[in-house]
């Protein structure tokens, strides 16, 4: 296989593999065992191919595939730069861990409801959204993701799930209509839909009310997806109702696709600086952080607390977009990578705690420090990382964005971030004190053991968090390289137009 074919394949595998898996597992509908086996093998293959993609982009910087050899403005293309490759790799890691966890958690009712086909369909949508180089295609992947995630949400058919799904569906459907209108207006103004071509055409257009409306519509559409203030209400209502494995993958990936899309559109297409968008994003980010963490402080159910923290953490990532310096962008990329791992791990841990203590409400559990001491330590790793304590990954992530905001004279935003960090620590400690430290609410005679297969993914994800924490330098260096295409659209444009299939190097 020559190098060019390899590079093309490596770019489309992350979408092809889950798509094939969705089809195969759908064919194996009658046999849960076969679905499980195929699923795990497929997830390993996906992980391998995603790591191969990361390896390829570190060598070639940007890979582009034009389907049917239609050159960029005419055909649909896949583009993998360092940011998309990192997102794809982290999604594959998470999908593998959640797949492992699901082996234990998913009951027959979930599998016969189509857990595996829907799960792989969702991963296809997520990876497609990360890799596409075309804004209309991004809309299509969003819809693939939306419809499969809705299916996953209602797998258990409980009342709470139906209610959560209604809220999720209505708000996200409105979001996708906004997205569609924005795409229509953008097409009317620029006459093209490919990111690279839009990045070339849009700066030549005069500012017009139509373009401003387009930018605002994009911000609203991605805001609903990502869960910015004040559009996040569907999130804490729907995520906690799903099984733990499903809420973990939702928490890790779905909102981050919205964030990723916002980063693409507001770096390549629209200027954040000098357009008023920066002020909007900065204020939205501050409110998202504070309101999210306040919401969490008032909750007692583990998954509710964690769901509000997703909202709050999205605020930190949006800080990076508001500041928009190379340093802040690198910080935001690092933050996304750290956050996906930590947040999904906390949801999986909530599942383990629920399994061991029998309740999702932390007030009803307790005394687990004695019965499951190793679980108490395992929980502390992602919890303290989320709050940003050194030497874990969250410390570096917060340090990078806060450092960037001081350097860009946005000290108030850094202040809000630090205050939010303190409250995050409070609510993580609340979970830990209630579930592990205090005397058990109900005395149990027998200690409930936790299956190894449930703990394995938690240990893997915690190990990644610790690795990023102690060995942060390569991850920060990678994020800095990834921020190059975000801060300088011309790199992206040139890479696509100068050499249609394969692309040369750039120096940051």
């Amino acid at each position: 296989m020559d190098l060019q074919t390899y590079n093309i394949l490596v770019t489309i595998w992350p979408v092809l593999i889950p798509l094939a898996l969705a089809a195969i597992t759908a064919c194996l509908w009658q046999s849960p065992t076969a679905q499980r086996a195929v699923g795990m093998i497929g997830l390993l293959a996906l992980l391998g191919s995603s790591l191969a993609l990361v390896d390829a982009v570190t060598r070639y910087d940007i890979l582009a595939v034009e389907f049917g050899s239609w050159p960029v403005p005419f055909g649909i293309s896949f583009v993998a730069d360092r940011l998309s490759a990192a997102m794809v790799a982290i999604a594959a890691t998470l999908a593998f861990c959640v797949g492992l966890y699901a082996l234990c958690e998913m009951r027959r009712v979930h599998i016969s409801g189509g857990f595996y086909p829907l799960f792989f369909g969702m991963v296809t949508g997520v990876n497609g959204a990360f890799l596409t180089g075309d804004i209309f295609n991004l809309y299509v992947w969003f819809e693939v993701m939306l419809v499969t995630s809705l299916g996953l949400l209602v797998l258990g058919k409980t009342k709470a799930q139906i209610d959560g799904a209604v809220k999720y569906a209505i708000l996200n459907l409105i979001g996708t209509v906004f997205f569609l209108i924005a795409v229509g207006l953008l097409y009317g103004a620029a006459g093209t839909l490919a990111f690279a071509d839009l990045a070339r055409v849009l700066p030549t257009l005069d500012a017009s009310p139509g373009l401003v409306a387009t930018a605002v519509l994009f911000l609203c559409a991605f805001g609903i997806k990502a869960g910015f203030f004040p559009l996040f209400f569907w999130l804490p209502a729907s995520y906690p109702t799903a099984p733990f494995a499903i809420s973990a993958i939702f928490a890790g990936l779905l909102t981050k696709v919205g964030v990723y899309a916002a980063f693409r559109v507001f770096t390549l297409l629209f200027e954040v600086e000098n357009s008023g968008i920066r002020e909007i994003v900065a204020i939205v980010a501050a409110f998202t952080m504070v309101i999210g963490v306040m919401g969490a402080a008032s909750q007692w159910s583990m998954r509710k607390i964690l769901s509000f923290h997703i909202v709050s953490q999205i605020g930190y990532i949006m800080m990076g977009l508001a500041i928009a310096t190379p340093l802040a962008m690198a910080g935001a990329v690092f933050y996304i990578i750290h956050h996906i791992i930590v947040k999904a791990n906390l949801f999986l841990l909530a599942g383990v705690v629920r399994h061991a203590s029998g309740s999702d409400d932390v007030r009803k559990s307790g005394g687990m420090l004695k019965t499951h001491p190793w679980l108490a330590v395992l929980f502390l790793i992602p919890a303290l990382s989320l709050a940003g304590l050194p030497p874990l990954s969250g410390f570096w992530a917060k340090f990078l964005v806060i450092d960037a905001s001081f350097k860009a004279d946005m000290g108030w935003l850094a202040g809000v971030a630090l205050f939010t960090g303190l409250l995050t620590l409070y609510s993580m400690m609340k979970i830990w004190m209630e579930a592990f430290w205090k005397a058990p609410a109900i005395e149990r005679k027998a200690v409930r053991s936790v299956p190894t297969i449930m703990v394995a993914p938690v240990v893997i994800l915690a190990a990644i968090t610790v690795t990023i924490g102690f060995w942060a330098e390569p991850f920060i260096a990678y994020s800095q390289m990834a921020s190059v295409t975000l801060t300088d659209p011309s790199v992206y444009v040139q890479a696509i137009f100068n050499n249609p299939i394969q692309v040369g190097r750039f120096n940051p």
Partner: protein
């Protein structure tokens, strides 16, 4: 022509938003469907209305004539219609399930997701 289309879009979208403000789940879903229809016409309008010349490259020329009709919006609208249809179908199925679980379509009365804890 454009003004007529714009007026039509605003009427459709306005009706959609009005429906969306209702508490009844089915009305909300119909509202979203109307809003999506409005969005589809926006895409249609944004791709140069008026020309009926087929988008075929004439013999002996290198590219399309300036007056040729733009076929891309139709492809986009078709895709959007199909996706919108699938999502609306799912939403209606969800509404049926919600009705059989809650015995009501009033979204304000659906509080099961919040009701897990005080």
């Amino acid at each position: 022509m454009t003004v007529v289309y714009a007026a039509m879009i605003s009427i459709i979208a306005g009706a959609g938003i009005y429906m969306l403000l209702a508490r009844n789940l089915v009305r909300m879903i119909l509202g979203i469907a109307l809003l999506a229809a409005g969005a589809n016409v926006v895409i249609f309008l944004s791709g140069r209305l008026g020309s009926v010349a087929p988008p075929i490259i004439e013999r002996g020329t290198e590219g399309l004539a300036q007056t040729a009709a733009n076929s891309l919006p139709q492809a986009l609208v078709l895709t959007a219609i199909v996706i919108g249809f699938a999502l609306t179908a799912f939403a209606i199925a969800l509404a049926v399930k919600a009705y059989s679980s809650f015995q009501t379509l009033d979204t304000a009365a659906m509080t099961a997701a919040e009701g897990e804890q005080g």
